[in-house]
Amino acid sequence: MKAVNQVAAADTLSGPRVAFNVERIREDFPVLKQRVHGKPLVYLDSAATSQKPKVVIDTVTQYYLAENSNIHRGIHFLSEQATRAFEDSRAKVARFLNASTAQEIVFVRGATEGINLVAQSFGRMRVKAGDEIIISAMEHHSNIVPWQILCQETGAVLRVVPINDRGEFLVDEYAKLLSPKTRLVSVVHVSNALGTINPVKRIVEMAHSRGVPVLIDGAQAAPHLTVDVGELDCDFYVFSSHKLFGPTGVGVVYGKAHHLEAMPPYQGGGDMILSVTFEKTLYNVIPFKFEAGTPHIAGVIGLGAAIDYLDGVGLDRIAAYESGLLAYATEAVSAVPGVRLIGTAKEKASIVTFVLEGVHAHDIGTILDQEGIAIRTGHHCAQPVLQRFGVPATARASLAFYNTRGEIDALVRGIRKVTELFG
């Protein structure tokens, strides 16, 4: 007995606590090895979509090579195996978010569909004419438009929490907007346009003190921070697999079980029913009630592999490495003459957004592309943010744990080249 305990203790100690080696990490991402326009690829667009480690690609390939089968439908071997792998992924996501049960995890197509699901099912059930829904001024279009649609349908009113010049959520203004009319709060955890990390725990507490439920858009948070929905106590949390080093076409809605139980289905079809007659249909239990039709089975299984991979690297070590890299990038980029950073919140993750005097972001993007550097330019699906800062477009370098300081140096050389060309 004693011997066994000792082994276990030794394992925990020697676990994945070795130093973070970014070159080793890069070996896991085949896409990073290529050249673009004759230059080594410098991929600084992970906020748009992250690259995939080989284990994720292999898992998806293996599924199609040897396991392909529909889930929840067959009693044959392959179907059973696929169903188990699919449900294993659900359990992994539940653990990843620290949800209390896997039933609280609904698979959808992406964060966008997740927010639409909550707006159309939970929102329509709860919101009436004259009610109010609160979002913030730094939302992605996917956390604006579904609420506008709901407001149009119900006669409810959208309220927007302003942000300051650093791109920070104004908690005092939020407090003023919360009222007996508020039915729902939906805010982003980490802003894709600014990198701001919002005080979501506080935001949830303040809403809950008035009995108002909260959705957190975690599309940009899940890849960079440890998310604990139990601790946050949020009612809903959504994210996209493809930004979390998993396949495209898969998203997650975490919803508290009692909400999911009470909510009407989002779409009707196969898998979401217990029995169907023309007179009456009995809906399936949660989460299946919200998963009509054949889902992206390979994608969900691939997301499970991505989560295993992240666990192996260690989320805390990823966060520590990225915070050093972000500090380095922020200093290096802002030191280039003519650069102005957009989004300088005290609490930030992985995003350096900037404008360059006299040069449109789109031109920066083309010139950097010629250097093999991939960044995002334009409005980043967050036009109100740009309106707030009075710029028509910005350039955004977004980081992941596979990026290096050398790549930041290449970015800075690239920006200097832009300045020369337009000089």
């Binding site: 006299g358 449109h360 972001a361 789109h362 031109d363 477009a393 080249k417």
Partner: protein, 150 residues
Amino acid sequence: MSDLRELYQEVILDHNRRPRNFQKLDGANRTAEGYNPLCGDQLTVYLRLEDGVIKGISFQGSGCAISKASASMMTASLKGKSKADAEALFETFHKMVTADLSVTFDPLEVGKLAAFSGVREFPVRVKCATLPWHTLHAALEEKGQIVSTE
């Protein structure tokens, strides 16, 4: 860098820095708005069209160097031209920025607009160069007010 110089020719950089006819047009009788939702470019083209002739033309808006220079040089080359001439030049311009690299162009036909021939090496930027022309076309045709590149 050489490809980039093809794209960002001196004349383009100049029109980007100092766009011509970059204001609202007094007495305009046609306007249209163009959007490139991909990058957020937006511009308005103003026209004073009399008896099928472009008597006045200007633009406003925000966009990248390519779209701004394209709008600027478009307005500069169309003043006094007939509607038919303008449409014909649009067609030539469009062919030039989308043509295969092997195709060469008659300098007489395209004039200063030849500066945009480098755009065809950058397919994602073609829409930047053509947005002002699509918007002009909408203003000439008076068909709807809003043009999108998508």
